[in-house]
């Protein structure tokens, strides 16, 4: 019933006529459609072309950037990430020089240590020669710690020649480290009467090291510790006792010798040294 009535209404509606848009309107719309179809495929093709380019180009750019950054990080000086304060950091070239100088110093110190141990079996004169540079190296380390950030170029000559350590000492001025160096150096070069014993030397070096620790890096502190170790060797101590004996300070020498034997009960004093340290 409803369907019939709908059909009746539909028929009545159809009776109203089947108007069509004017021909001009048809032409205008179809022309616009053709224009758009002619123009847009080109745009779409261009866009598709760009899309073909974009993905590989973007990928390549990202890869190149990643490789460049990686290479740059690999060629960076190691230690750039160390906690050294950046504000006082010298220019990279100067830093490299200082690093080289420190490496050489470390090698020299190691050599001296070995030579010192070996010379315990040799002549006392030879021992004197090795002892002085060893302690002077302490001065040099303290100086280089002090001077490196400001005047790095001065380091290489000091490192290249082991002997002029003492000659360079007057150039050291100013900081706590250099002060400590001045205190340490004469004590090593001069007689024991004017200097502290080995423990005192070690303590001074350590205090200088502590005072300097704020500005100094870990690699710089290592040679100082090694110097302290060198200063504590029995040979060195015996050498000082021998010097006391030579100066006629026999009581001091006896005390020092007794103390030495107490500390090193198993140490066998070589015969030439025994002749020098024991009271005749």
């Amino acid at each position: 019933m409803t369907e019939e009535r709908d059909a009746k209404v539909s028929a009545a509606y159809r009776g109203l006529g089947a108007e069509e848009p004017p021909r001009a309107l048809d032409e205008a719309i179809l022309a616009a459609a053709r224009r758009d179809a002619d123009a847009r495929p080109a745009l779409l093709a261009a866009r598709a072309g760009r899309q073909r380019w974009y993905a590989p180009l973007a990928t390549a750019a990202v890869l190149v950037l990643a490789v460049a950054v990686t290479l740059n990080m690999q060629t960076e000086r190691p230690g750039i990430e160390s906690p050294e304060p950046q504000s006082s950091a010298p220019p990279p070239a100067a830093v490299r020089d200082v690093a080289k100088a420190r490496e050489k110093e470390n090698r020299e110190i190691a050599k001296l240590e070995v030579a010192d141990a070996a010379s315990a079996e040799k002549a006392p004169i030879a021992r004197r020669k090795t002892a002085a540079p060893a302690v002077a190296a302490d001065t040099r380390v303290a100086r280089s710690k002090d001077d490196a950030p400001a005047a790095a170029p001065a380091a290489p000559p000091a490192a290249s020649e082991p002997k002029p350590f003492m000659a360079e000492r007057p150039a050291v001025t100013g900081s706590v480290s250099s002060e400590a160096a001045r205190n340490v150096a004469p004590s090593a070069a001069g007689p024991l009467s004017q200097s502290a014993p080995a423990e005192a030397l070690a303590k001074r070096a350590e205090s200088a090291d502590r005072a300097d620790r704020g500005a100094a890096s870990a690699p710089a502190a290592a040679p100082a510790r090694m110097q302290q170790k060198v200063a504590d060797t029995p040979e060195r101590e015996l050498e000082r006792i021998a010097e006391l004996r030579a100066q006629g300070r026999h009581e001091d020498a006896d005390k020092a010798l007794a103390e030495f034997r107490k500390r090193n009960p198993d140490y066998k004093i070589p015969e030439p040294m025994r002749a020098r340290v024991e009271r005749r």
């Binding site: 209404v9 108007e19 004017p22 719309i29």
Partner: protein, 183 residues
């Protein structure tokens, strides 16, 4: 076998102007009448009709087959008509208003004193009854008649729920039948 509307529109999206022409010729009359009988003013109707097709042309790159082509096309048309009415300060009445309007006799639908069986007069009454329909009811009826939409499709094209679309269509048919002197 003739290509479907959606197929032709997809072909046009890819740049086939001929596909659009076929599509246009297939739907131009129905859409034109839908607009003309919604607006009444022929000049305005033609302007709106052209704008509707231009919008379809512009939107072709974004066209996806989510529904029937006619649903897509008549949704564009309806949106354009709503814009037009808004500019004129007119709005489509709500369903409640439609119900209220139902009680009122359609304007211009008065019967002539003597029943003349001439077809011309009958059609004139029908035309007046159609014009007197509330906009949403008329829209539902025109979509049903011109676009061949069922209730669900009308609901989708007009953004209404199916019950509302069904109600609108039912009221429209009822009034038109009444105008035909069928009730």
């Amino acid at each position: 076998m003739e290509a479907g509307d959606e197929e032709l529109m997809l072909a046009y999206r890819e740049g086939d102007a001929g596909a659009f022409e076929r599509l246009y010729r297939r739907h131009k009359g129905a859409l034109y009448r839908f607009v003309l009988r919604s607006i009444r003013d022929r000049a305005v109707a033609e302007e709106l009709y052209q704008e509707i097709w231009m919008r379809a042309i512009e939107a072709r790159a974004r066209y996806e087959v989510h529904a029937k082509f006619t649903t897509w096309l008549y949704t564009i048309a309806r949106n354009r008509l709503v814009d037009h009415w808004r500019k004129r300060g007119l709005t489509l009445v709500s369903l409640d208003q439609e119900a209220a309007a139902e009680a009122e006799p359609p304007a211009g639908a008065e019967y002539e004193p003597q029943r003349v069986l001439e077809a011309k007069q009958s059609l004139e009454r029908f035309r007046r009854a159609l014009e007197a329909l509330p906009a949403l009811q008329r829209e539902a009826f025109l979509l049903h008649e011109e676009a061949g939409m069922n209730v669900a499709e009308i609901a989708r094209a007009t953004g209404a729920n199916e019950d509302a679309a069904k109600s609108r269509l039912r009221y429209a048919l009822s009034k038109l039948k009444e105008a035909m002197g069928d009730d």
